[in-house]
């Protein structure tokens, strides 16, 4: 009994040591890539399990029910999403000459960026951490830190990638931070995830002009996200004269619980640096 108890303690100490090492290395988020084989295995299993259902669904929708119309419709929907995204990028750069120049810069800098379509494969096991796994990876052109968008706005960025899957950190995740600007007033700040369905815009001084309903877009300052991507509208402004910064809450443009028609934004090699 005594010996058994000692063994248990030794085992728990060893297991704790493993966990502590993992936690101490946890600041290197690239460690998540070490779990790529698991996600790859999951991708294969998911494909195998859902193959009969997908086959039956495809047989019915693409051949029996609507032979050509369905396919044509899919292409049109995809084209519409692509156009909506382009429209959004253009809208964020309309207006004054300076902003028109910025639009020209944007087009010249990212004129040939690729939109890589992807589909949602799985969601995070915890509702607090907001990550999703998509069915596209390095073989389809996805890479770590690649921005992910939907026709409605910014979704997040790729945090780990394997040959056929990618883990996307949504902008609502508490670990997410996106340099942003209020479209109407050009006030800059950092949009942070809260782990809930709202975002917070931080580091905006109390003296700045901020109103409910203002649109917040990516500023492109860090170079990770293209400029002018819609993030959301300001839903709440809490000014406290004793504080330097104002408390701003944002309602995201993209409803993260219904992610459809998402794209990875592929940069040219020189842009990604």
């Amino acid at each position: 009994m005594e010996r058994g108890g000692t063994n248990k303690i030794i085992l728990v100490v060893i297991a704790s040591a493993i966990v502590i090492v993992l936690l101490s290395l946890g600041q290197y988020r690239s460690l998540s890539s070490g779990l790529n084989p698991v996600r790859e295995g999951f991708y294969i299993a998911e494909r195998v399990v859902t193959a009969p259902f997908r086959f039956a669904a495809t047989l019915w929708t693409d051949y029996l029910a609507l032979v050509n119309v369905r396919r044509e419709n899919k292409e049109l929907v995809r084209e519409l999403q692509r156009l909506r995204f382009q429209h959004m990028a253009m809208q964020g750069l309309e207006g004054e000459n300076e902003r028109l120049r910025a639009m020209l810069d944007f087009k010249s800098e990212h004129g040939d960026y690729q939109l890589l379509p992807a589909t949602l494969l799985a969601q995070d096991i915890s509702v607090i951490f907001r990550t999703v796994i998509i069915d596209r990876g390095t073989t389809h052109g996805f890479a770590v830190n690649m921005p992910v968008v939907s026709p409605l706005g910014l979704v997040g960025r790729v945090m780990a990638v394997s040959p056929h899957t990618a883990q996307v950190l949504l902008i609502t995740d508490p670990n997410s931070a996106v340099p942003a600007v209020i479209e109407e007033t050009q006030v800059k700040g950092i949009v942070k995830g809260t782990g809930t369905n709202v975002l917070s815009l931080e580091y905006v001084r109390s003296t700045e002009l901020v109103e409910v309903g203002n649109m917040v877009v990516s500023s492109g300052l860090e170079g990770r996200f293209p400029k002018g991507l819609r993030i959301g509208r300001i839903s709440e402004v809490g000014k406290d004269p004793r504080k330097i910064f104002v408390r701003i809450m944002i309602s995201p443009s993209v409803e993260m619980s219904k992610l459809e028609g998402i794209f990875g934004v592929g940069f040219r090699a020189e842009d990604s640096q």
Partner: protein, 157 residues
């Protein structure tokens, strides 16, 4: 031992599929923790060392489906495993109601710890799926415990 562990890891993989694909497909914010029931199951049916090995391996496997800091998920399941192992001398783990309550309580502890640790201000409507998830975690735990027992018996025979 190897056969039992690999079978249990296979079940964990299936559980991850249910947790991350099927259930969020029904209701997006709903999360049901099926591994908690398996942790209770390995304490009842397997030895401490085998159970500990399974808990570490399966929680690392689940880490692949989360944006949590690496190590955080194994830490939680290790804590659960050790606590339940201590509790087994005090409470009757084989009782179905005990399993339901234990799993639900640990699910609530995990959610509360994350909310406090990450400093998240949940709205009332966001608490509902968490509460439903905890109740369903509790309800699923006897099934998972039975599944572990069945795997154990299959290889013993």
């Amino acid at each position: 031992m190897l056969k039992t562990l690999s079978s249990l890891l296979g079940i964990t993989f299936l559980a991850a599929f249910i947790e991350t694909v099927l259930l969020p497909g029904l209701w997006s914010p709903l999360r049901v923790d099926l591994l908690l029931g398996m942790v209770i199951g390995v304490i009842i049916h397997l030895g401490f060392s085998q159970g500990l090995l399974f808990v570490l391996a399966s929680s690392l496997l689940l880490q692949a489906f989360s944006g949590a800091r690496p190590g955080l998920i194994p830490l939680f399941y290790l804590f659960t495993f050790v606590t339940v192992d201590i509790l087994k001398d005090v409470i009757y783990l084989e009782n179905i109601m005990t399993q339901v309550i234990l799993a639900a309580v640990f699910s609530v502890i995990a959610a509360c710890a994350l909310v406090l640790f990450m400093d998240i201000g949940l709205k009332p409507e966001e608490v509902i799926p968490l509460a439903v998830g905890s109740v369903l975690t509790g309800c699923a735990s006897p099934v998972m415990v039975a599944l572990v027992g069945r795997v154990k018996r299959a290889y013993e025979a």
